[in-house]
Amino acid sequence: MKDVLLKTECLSKSFSNGGMLRHILKNIDLELYAGDFTVIMGASGAGKSTLLYALSGMDKPSLGRICFGEEEISGYGQDQLALFRRKHCGFVFQQIYLIDTMSVMDNVLAAGMLVNRDRKALLKKAEELFAAVGISKEVQKKFPTQISGGEAQRAGIVRALINQPKILFADEPTGALNSKTGLDVLDTLTKCNEQGQSIVMVTHDMRSARRGNRILYLKDGAILGECALGAYRSGDRERQEALSGFLREMGW
């Protein structure tokens, strides 16, 4: 029996648009488990990213509850959510979002120093993570605009992992990358998951989705179905076919 990390009850999110209320998420009941690589798929406008923002405390739901363990985070204010994010969450974005005016290392340390006051230990941890994702010392000193997209995204993953989050949220992490660098990033995420890191990833890319062990399919703001794939194994055809079948069934 897996530990429930995040749980939602009747999670709804609506936006007012030109006087009309648009329901993006509709009564979602969901449990996310520790150690899982959960992939959220769906067509454009299905509410994937909205669900990710709500789950990660970046946005507040309109209705319903989100619980992180025993903590109900759906009632939190902005600053409480910020504290929740720094303590428990890591983020990898499609647009990477490193701060241009800080070196790669400073981008990571700025996030790390929020939680860890021990600068030496933090530096050591950062260097370990950089080494694990294959970023050299040279690159660490550079500014984000001076490195490649792949390097920047891997640096983004280091920033997301520096505080050893309980859960890593990734929003289309390969969306802005070319095929080769995208693959490197996916490998990095897979490696993290294999080491026990819980990951929730939004994607509409089949190749990325294959890395997950649990696939959720969202349609019109509701979970249409889910599929358990088991642990990722490179070149596992049976797994690939199971995913393809599931997505076909969902109307992908």
């Binding site: 504290l83 005016t101 929020l114």
Partner: protein
């Protein structure tokens, strides 16, 4: 042109906040500039207009002798001078006297004239400003109109040693004798009151001679000529005189002080507004490099892009300057009321096209120059370079304050990073705080030396102050001195007499005569060299010495009473009473030119002594031996209260203005910073930074530049405030200021300024609360 206008409109729409802050700063700058120009270009000219309207004299002389012989002599002398245009004589009475005014006393040469005579004089008639139904009494210059001195009230005037009571009938405007700053003050009496004063023989009858000359620039020389002629022919006749040059300057001291302060404020505010404008343009170009590159790529020329900026800022400048000019018309009446309390000449506020045009031209011209210089990057860059450069406005050569090595807490370290990489912000903040520091120091110095305790200011302006002055006749002097030495209430009594002398028989100098200058209270009157010690020594007013190119050690000839003697210049003095035309000499020194008919003694009395009662006792004891008594404390209070009230308002206004300036500059900078760092703040919030941390971080990033520039500003301003004040007061004879710089006050005010600026930066940064990480993700 049309395309540039469209661009300008869209830029304005996109930066409303910045536009508002720049408008506010330009508004303040233009109102100060326009006020200053109105004061400089028109206010003082009001004296000339009034002088012309009342057909006033250029030289006014009252001689205590109403014989036909003297009148004939004066007529002949005047007619013999080619400069004379018109001469007229009137009957008057003349005596030194005083009356209570403004919490103190006015003590001056009083000139009593019959009302009917005064209003019908062919030269120098007066105009009645206000008149009641009172049939018998006195009319005073409009300057003295106050709560206590009002129509129907009774005023007590001490004429010599006699107190007279009059009912106030009205107020009038007299150009050449309508204030205690004119050397003589005209008072009009109704027919019966005039006759009564004449009969009581309190004040000697005098001939009032009013002369108009062809060239007003010659007024001083003419006065000298006339007075020399009278003193040669009638050495024992007491005369008082003034000239257009002296009166036009001395009645406008407050205008000069206000104009000086307003000019400084106008320069500060315009400077800050232009720096802020330049910083805004540089920032705009950097942040919109891609957008501008795209516009260039689709065919807009560099000239069109710069033209849009020029149009935008010229429009803002024109609008805010016009609004500022309108506001200055609202501010002018209260300022006018304050200044009339010193000038005593009514001024009617009216539309003045020249200051308006000058204000608009100066500000629009400066804005044009600033836009051209700040936007020159746009002209040279190729569209592809601009498109590629995009957000690369940061200097990537150096990673400032790397977090791996920073020993500071995270918020401080990140703030330091922003500070070190934000030269534009630092420059704008630095310039603002530097200028505001000067205002703080100025306010501190004025508070300490004028508002809280006016002694240093009075020492500077008046020269010597004591508690009382008693003028005794020569034959009473020894008895008086013995009595004073025996009186326990008298701490110090020393001769401090004033007599008129002339340099080389030409320029009039007011000589202060003392037995021993080491006795005087204000030892800093001589600021260079030393006081005269011997009979052949003299200390000269610095302004006059400079005009005449005289140096210490030089020998000059001084004349008086038809005699002349040579004196060695031992030092330079600064006394503003006679606009710098003063000298100091010992009694022995003066007696080389003539005997002192009356000796004026300055007295320092024990604290708590009733000065008026002391004077009454002296008059009782010495009878006619006492010529005049002056309550110096009361006279100074009366005189200084006008300046102190004016300075209180000025200090309050400049401090208030400083608060507004800080608020607007910070508002603009914070807004620019939030705009350019919105993405960064969104990322940091996503990583778990709270709004509070980011607000603190933003405000802290301004703190180093604020602290350093405030510290430098306070230090430099403290060093230059005295020379700067002396520069402003140079025209009234002040060459060196020795105002105490209140270090504690200034340090506390500086800290207050910093705290205020920091609190404002925090407050203005609260907008960060509205930036949500989701906004960042969706917005990209």
């Amino acid at each position: 042109m049309h395309k540039s206008m469209l661009l300008a409109r869209s830029q304005l729409k996109g930066a409303k906040g910045q536009a508002i802050a720049i408008v506010a700063l330009l508004f303040l700058a233009s109102s100060m500039l326009h006020l200053w120009l109105m004061l400089s270009m028109d206010y003082r000219q009001n004296f000339d207009r009034c002088h012309d309207r009342l057909h006033a004299a250029h030289v006014l002389l009252a001689a205590d002798d109403d014989s036909d012989g003297l009148r004939d002599f004066l007529t002949q002398t005047a007619k013999g001078d080619g400069r004379t245009e018109e001469i007229s004589f009137d009957d008057a009475m003349h005596k030194v006297g005083f009356f209570a005014y403004n919490g103190g006393e006015v003590n001056t040469e009083l000139l009593f004239i019959n009302r009917e005579t005064a209003v019908s004089r062919s030269v120098g008639s007066v105009e009645i400003v206000e008149e009641g139904d009172v049939k018998s009494g006195i009319y005073l210059p409009v300057l003295y109109k106050s709560k206590e001195i009002a129509i129907g009230n009774t005023i007590e005037i001490s004429i010599g040693n006699t107190d007279m009571r009059y009912e106030v009938c009205g107020f009038f405007n007299s150009v050449m004798a309508g204030s205690h700053n004119c050397g003589m003050c005209e008072l009009m009496l109704t027919e019966d009151a005039y006759k009564k004063l004449e009969e009581e023989n309190i004040a000697p009858k005098a001939a009032l001679c009013s002369i108009r000359i062809s060239d007003q620039a010659e007024s001083e020389a003419y006065e000298t000529m006339l007075k020399n002629a009278v003193s040669s022919k009638y050495p024992h006749v007491k005369t008082v005189s003034n000239s257009y040059a002296l009166v036009s300057q001395s009645r406008y001291i407050s205008q000069m002080v206000c104009a000086g302060i307003l000019s400084a404020m106008a320069c500060f505010l315009s400077g800050i507004a232009l720096v802020v404008m330049a910083s805004n343009i540089v920032h705009y170009v950097q942040e919109n490099m891609k957008h501008l590159g795209a516009l260039k790529a689709i065919g807009y020329t560099g000239r069109q892009l710069r033209g849009s900026l020029l149009m935008q800022f010229l429009l803002l400048t024109l609008l805010s300057a016009t609004a500022g000019v309108l506001a200055s018309y609202l501010l002018f009446p209260p300022l006018n009321a304050m200044m009339i309390a010193q000038t005593g000449i009514p001024y009617e506020v009216r539309f003045l096209p020249l200051p308006l045009l000058t204000t608009l031209l100066i500000l629009c011209g400066a804005a044009w120059a600033v836009v051209c210089v700040s936007s020159r990057r746009m002209k040279k860059m190729e569209p592809i370079t601009m498109l590629r450069q995009g957000i690369f406005s940061h200097n990537f050569k150096r990673n400032y304050a790397p977090l791996a090595h920073a020993k500071l807490p995270l918020s401080f370290a990140l703030a330091l990073k922003t500070t070190l990489s934000g030269i534009k912000y630092n420059f704008t903040v630095g310039v603002t705080m530097l200028l505001l520091s000067l205002i703080v120091v100025f306010s501190g110095v004025m508070e300490k030396n004028m508002i809280a305790d006016a002694t240093p200011f009075l020492d500077l302006i008046v020269g010597e102050t004591a508690d009382s002055c008693i003028s005794v006749l020569a034959q009473t002097e020894q008895d008086f001195l013995q009595e004073m030495q025996a009186d326990e209430r008298v701490q110090k009594a020393y001769l401090y007499s004033s007599q008129e002398v002339r340099h080389d028989g030409g320029a009039k100098l007011m000589a202060t005569i003392c037995d021993d200058f080491s006795n005087v209270n204000n030892q800093s009157v001589v600021f260079e060299g030393r006081f005269p010690k011997y009979a052949n020594e003299i200390a000269l007013g610095a302004t006059y010495a400079k005009e005449q190119d005289l140096a210490i050690g030089q020998e000059i000839t001084v004349t008086a009473n038809g005699k002349e003697a040579a004196y060695l210049v031992t030092g330079f003095t600064q006394i503003s009473n006679n606009l710098g035309k003063d000298c100091l000499m010992t009694r022995d020194g003066y007696e080389r030119l003539g005997e002192l008919q009356a000796a004026e003694y300055y007295l320092n009395l024990l604290e708590g002594t009733d000065i008026e009662a002391f004077h009454a006792q002296a008059k009782k004891r010495f009878g006619d031996g006492v010529n005049v008594t002056i309550n110096i404390r009361a006279a100074l209070e009366g005189m200084s209260s006008v300046y102190i009230s004016l300075m209180k308002v000025i200090v309050f206004a400049v401090l208030l203005l400083s608060v507004f300036v800080i608020a607007f500059v910070l508002f603009l900078l914070v807004r620019i910073m939030l705009g350019s760092k919105k993405r960064e703040y969104g990322i940091l919030k996503a990583c778990g930074f709270t709004s509070g941390q980011l607000v603190l971080q933003t405000a802290l990033s301004f703190l180093p530049a604020m602290t350093v520039s405030t510290a430098i500003g306070l230090l430099v301003s403290s060093c230059i405030i005295n020379p700067l004040t002396a520069l402003f007061l140079g025209s009234i004879g002040i060459v060196k200021c020795t105002f105490v710089v209140p270090v504690g006050w200034i340090a506390a005010a500086g800290a207050g300024l910093l705290l205020l600026a920091f609190a404002m930066a925090c407050l203005l940064s609260l907008k960060i609360r509205k930036i949500t990480p989701k906004e960042l993700l969706v917005g990209e």
